[in-house]
Symmetry: D2
Subunit: 460 residues, 4 copies
């Protein structure tokens, strides 16, 4: 896919003696999660008595320098966060982790996901006197936890009460000066896993970040599970009553890195399977299969393998687009897509091409790609989408455009085919999603395709 | 004085139609208050429905660009803040104004001063569930106000309750989306005045900032007064019962700009008078009087006028020292003072010199100045200080070193004279402070000289 | 390939009415050539009377802003340059284009390549009084041209004389206030092609940049050709007597973008062919073929197609490594490669893997990749290199390490195999290079493999 | 004076063992010369074999960091430069020092001043094949020197020949890898002096910079003198035949720092004398004398001393105006002056004020100051200028506006008085300039007042 959909962040945490400075582990861990958010990045670290935080707008490599990392000293615990980038709500004040001070001391929080009853909870808290500094859900969770803790209950009970009162999809990390807590929502909508590096316990949104820092993958955090790590060791508690598994299927289709394994399922393999399923459902006579970089490529290889149609490289992607890149102006608008993705004429000229992407959001980008392929000499362009059509908004943290802007909400597949100028168009059907996920494929959220929400959605 | 003492900030606010964009008024107003704080700067502005804030580490001219100012749109109200610079506690998160969201909506606050019962109040608030994001007093005030407001009382009563529960010296500005409130502590320790530009009402720590933006000075805010400005006009309410005037005398001696007038007293004139009083109390036969730039110069002219000894320019100050200036290393330590202040040999060579400064804190800088004057050919150096010796800490917002580091706490005047290498040394006596302030000179705080605190000080 | 070899820059120029501002064309053209150099970037543009230049260290997207582009006004001609990044000699002063002033007026130059007799020519020029500001070859060419022009000869004769006196591989662009000249060395070692956008003539190191700006590819500049464009049109002159074609074969193997076509040969196709040839020369029984991103991937697909062994994605590359990225310290050195490239276990576990890369320079990186694949579960790792072993330095502008550091200079292939830990190792043989290039494959430089230099090399 | 006139730079050099790293000496030396140029700053240093250079736009404190200084290693020689700031011609490429490479090796140059026959010399050089990279005079001097040196003559003869062929006012420093040369023009128009720090010899535009680094002032360089320092020691040679002293009188009036001593004359004393002379020539009955900061203040004190009218501080200057300061927009234009300089009402209200400035260029600023004083309550404002009226352009390096913009070229003194709104107006007369300079006051250039140029001026 080439734009338009955004994940709501990546989180990473560490507690204990990793054999290397924890801030380095955090740095490279967050770097491996960069694809989950490019707007801002931050690390909060505790040296056992004190919590320091550094965060700013920008990529991990822009936000941190050797200097800023050194200022953390020798942390015993650390949590970090990458936030995704949209134009609207991006303000420095919303960068995470947050550090908060309350009667019980100080703690830090970072989170991935979205609360669907955030406004109600916030209003209730405000009614009880709470004051908010930011507009991020993390602060709502933090205020709830502090409020519960203030009643004198143990942290686990505080978290249990919080989880009981919030709805949505989320995974969050809580760091006190001497312990680290990881929590995953009762439906496991958002991913979170655990690893080990030396004697340190790590938590990460995706296993690729464990791998990147040389850590061993231990296991996924279970839906409704809270894991606490401190000097005395690690313990797990189930903090919700009605847990079920409703992991986000779009993590496999698009968000996650191909080398991650989530809830027992390889992202790479699920994409390959999606391509294969697509080949069976929407076969076509063609000369080559290409994928739209990056996320369409794995499915393209699956389609190729299943169909026997050779996979070739259809596009060269210019990877140097950075934050300060100047968007093409009106005069070069026509070129805008080509500046990022340019077709390889030699690979497609004179050929019937199957082009695989993982979604069609507004349809404009894919229409440009189809046109570019024809200009490059493709005689036919058959578009295959390795997911069902987007029809419903996501309330759990994925930034999907409103229905007016979702092409599939307002057009039949034939109409879409005409709009994007493809010879044929085929989507993966909803029933195939379970097969795509494989043996562990029961229990997932496909609400964006079906409207079948596993968790309360906002009333308005 | 050349370093060592620091004010705790300057504040500036505006409400209404000034005829020019309010953000410009704020920018130049804060620029005129830059001497009160150079660490960070910020502006929060309301367009009537929404509050936006921009703040960062750095000088006013570094923090704001045409772009950042334009993003405020067309504000109906705005408040701004300059924070002072110390090495230790300077973190981006403590920059002001703060913007907070609570049941009653959003508001913004910025403040100058220090609460002496901050820890107790904070602890009490935390006990009731409050969570803090920063370590600045402003947030304590803000949380109190929101808490009171939540009880359904009117803002004036909320502020009254807050003022009733906090102790210390402070002036703060509260901005709601459609009104602006200015509050000065019941003892008037910290300064705050009001002005008018077009149809807009302005508030400022010092009158020089009103002058700088072309506004008319209206009056000082009274101790214990709260002034509210909104679309319906302006109204004043007394919100404390036992008000008295205990304005900080050190504002006149050192902090304020010479062109400011505070509580009816001209800063310039008070410095001139201090010099004249000093001349009477500590006369000496000499050939010239010089002042240590900048703050010693006015008193030097007063000394000259009274004594008849000609005033000459003793030092050239290098005004280009900026944030990134590299401090002289060990090898050039000897030169450190001279790099900032260099004596004019021709003005002092062969002469008996009276050198006026406004304080001696540690004594090292003034010892260097005396030595430099002798090297430049001065035959005698008589040091005169236009204030009494520092003996007590300030708890109301002035960053005075601890007693161990205050030279006057640990040495007799004769010992100090020897340490700084002066021929004679004379301080203004405490009794003269009232005279220094002139006709309006009743009611001021001189606790740093006398230990006579007008307001509760911290228990520990 | 994963590091170690560097191209010496990309150049791009434009003259005439492109229908869009020339500076935009330059910006996106240079952006498409970013892979040829990431150290510094610059544009010089003439408005018909005056030449302005903006250049700085950094990527195209970092060096230029909307502001800096606007300052060029409405150019009639423009040239631009990307410089490659090495640690040693990278200084701001060596950024290009250069702008020079001489008796005949002002002109600007940028160039790609290396002069092999640069020191002699420079010494001779200095002997005649020339003064140099930089250490780049471009200045030597510029001084020669100015010197010749000063004799009153026509530009074409000046360039002819210059080409006669310099040796090496180069392509350069000369911009006078009212014309643009493109020159390619007599052996065509460095690439240069021409395009058309609206009424403007463009020159580019690679055709992919023409494509990126929506221009039409016209033709390659011939070895020893000089093309002049001005208001009266375009004309071509041959400026060298003994021209031959010795285009750099490494452009096809590694440097150029896959969507470029150079001297009639598709880079993509040549890489596919290299993979296919490799499959024939070094077949192996295996379960999958993978490529080392980015440049090994095309050859891997060629190997797969020829051998029938399925191509799979072996590695995920983290593309967010930027200029300020902190290199892993000693403790995480082991991880250094994995932070950039992480294997996909599911793709290789339990499999006999053929891994294709385009070169082995020092051998350390590839040894890490082999080890990582085994850790990921590969049962066998067969390394195939889509080029012959590096044995000789390049004197024409490619930054190859010295012989001591070239693994193939000091070890047999069997020794290298052992050092990198592969089960088998196979290089493409030298004889296959012509086949790799295809029908137009006569006339190329393979000196880095054979020591057979088409052009004078430095005497020392 | 408050703007409008600009010096053309400050230079500073050092050779030998200063006991502290030479780059530190240069840093603080240039810092002390910051008033002579704020546009760009640079240092070139030789470690005995190699010359490194760092320069950039900005103040000394912005251009250099601990890092950039450390990169110079342990220099044996170094030269540095501050360039002044104007809007038009300010480009990074013109920053100094320049480093050049020619047959005889490498050398670096920086210079203060202006060549009046620059265009002719440049044209002649270009006719002989020279190519220029910059538009600064330094490069012309450098090319001449290299050209002469190439003829095999000794450096002193090369410099002699260069000095013979150039006209104007200048002082320059030449650094070869193992020696440092200081040259002052035959008329001594531009200042240059020598100092000693440890075993190192220093050169500086002004003695204040010697003082700032703790060096001892040795003597001024004589007009037409060349001083060479290398390992064998120091030697002086006269390199021009018709030397005379025509030092720039405006250095004393405005440019130089008050603590500098130039050609035997104290800048401070000459300003005091100017004030005294002015008091005798233009006496007036008044209550106080004030000076326009900074440069008018010394003359004001001289006026006060001579007239007996008390000197008071009339204005507070805001010293925080930096490079990124946003200029007041149209709406606040009226305020523009007041934002920088604000009168102290208490000092002037109800008084007849004498206001001293050192020049009137366009007249707008001084008109604003007069108006501000009246608004502040001054009953009369008598303007006194401590120099004669500006009537002629300077061709030796001072950036004076063109005649159309010089108020005195187009108006009588009475007209000017009316335009600026003063009660009376008096200028120092031309005859007093010699007295102002005192005993050493023979031999100076006052061409900007008299049109009597000591050196060739440009033909057009």
């Amino acid at each position: 896919m080439t734009g338009s959909l955004h994940e709501e962040c990546g989180i990473f945490g560490a507690f204990g003696n990793a054999g290397v400075p924890l801030q380095s582990v955090l740095y490279y861990g967050l770097f491996a999660l960069q694809h989950r958010g490019q707007e801002s990045s931050g690390i909060a670290a505790s040296n056992g008595t004190d919590i320091k935080c550094h965060k700013a707008m920008g990529l991990v490599s822009e936000v941190f320098s050797t200097d800023t990392l050194e200022k953390f000293g020798s942390p015993v615990a650390a949590i970090g966060h990458n936030r995704y980038s949209t134009t609207g709500s991006s303000v420095a004040g919303n960068a995470q982790p947050l550090v908060l001070h309350y009667a019980g001391g100080s703690f830090s929080i970072c989170h991935n996901g979205n609360l669907t009853n955030c406004d109600e909870v916030k209003k209730a808290l405000e009614g009880q006197g709470s004051i908010f500094h930011t507009t991020v859900d993390s602060e709502v969770i933090a205020q709830l936890i502090a409020r519960e803790s203030n009643r004198g209950v143990k942290t686990v009970d505080a978290v249990r009460a919080v989880v009981d009162s919030i709805r949505g999809g989320y995974a969050f990390l809580l760091m006190y000066k001497d312990r680290l807590i990881a929590v995953r929502d009762p439906h496991g909508i958002k991913p979170l896993c655990m690893g080990r590096l030396g004697d340190a316990v790590l938590f990460s949104s995706e296993s690729c970040a464990l791998s990147a820092v040389g850590a061993e993958f231990v296991r996924d955090i279970k839906p409704g599970e809270m894991v606490t790590v401190d000097e005395t060791g690690m313990r797990s508690e189930m903090i919700a009553d009605n847990c079920s598994c409703a992991k986000c299927v779009f993590e496999y289709i698009y968000f996650a890195r191909a080398d991650s394994r989530m809830d027992g399922i390889s992202v790479y393999e699920s994409r390959m399977r999606a391509g294969a399923l697509l080949a069976r459902q929407h076969p076509v006579e063609a000369d080559c299969v290409i994928g739209v970089p990056e996320s369409g490529i794995d499915a393209a290889m699956g389609y190729s393998e299943e169909s026997g149609i050779p996979y070739v490289k259809g596009f060269v992607k210019n990877g140097y687009v950075g934050r300060t890149f100047i968007k093409p102006s009106q005069e070069l608008r026509e070129q805008a897509v080509r500046i990022k993705l340019n077709p390889i004429s030699e690979a497609v000229a004179g050929k019937r091409v199957v082009m695989i992407d993982d979604s069609i959001v507004r349809g404009t980008t894919i229409a440009n790609l189809v046109r570019m392929l024809r200009q490059a000499g493709a005689t036919e362009v058959h578009v295959r989408i390795s997911a069902p059509p987007f029809l419903f908004p996501c309330f759990y943290g994925t930034d999907v455009p409103s229905k007016e802007n979702l092409i599939a909400c307002n057009n039949t597949i034939e109409q879409i085919r005409q709009m994007i100028g493809a010879d044929t168009l085929g989507y993966l059907d909803v029933k195939s999603l379970a097969q795509m996920l494989g043996e562990e494929g029961h229990g997932f959220c496909d609400a964006c395709f079906t409207g079948d929400y596993p968790e309360q959605i906002p009333s308005d």
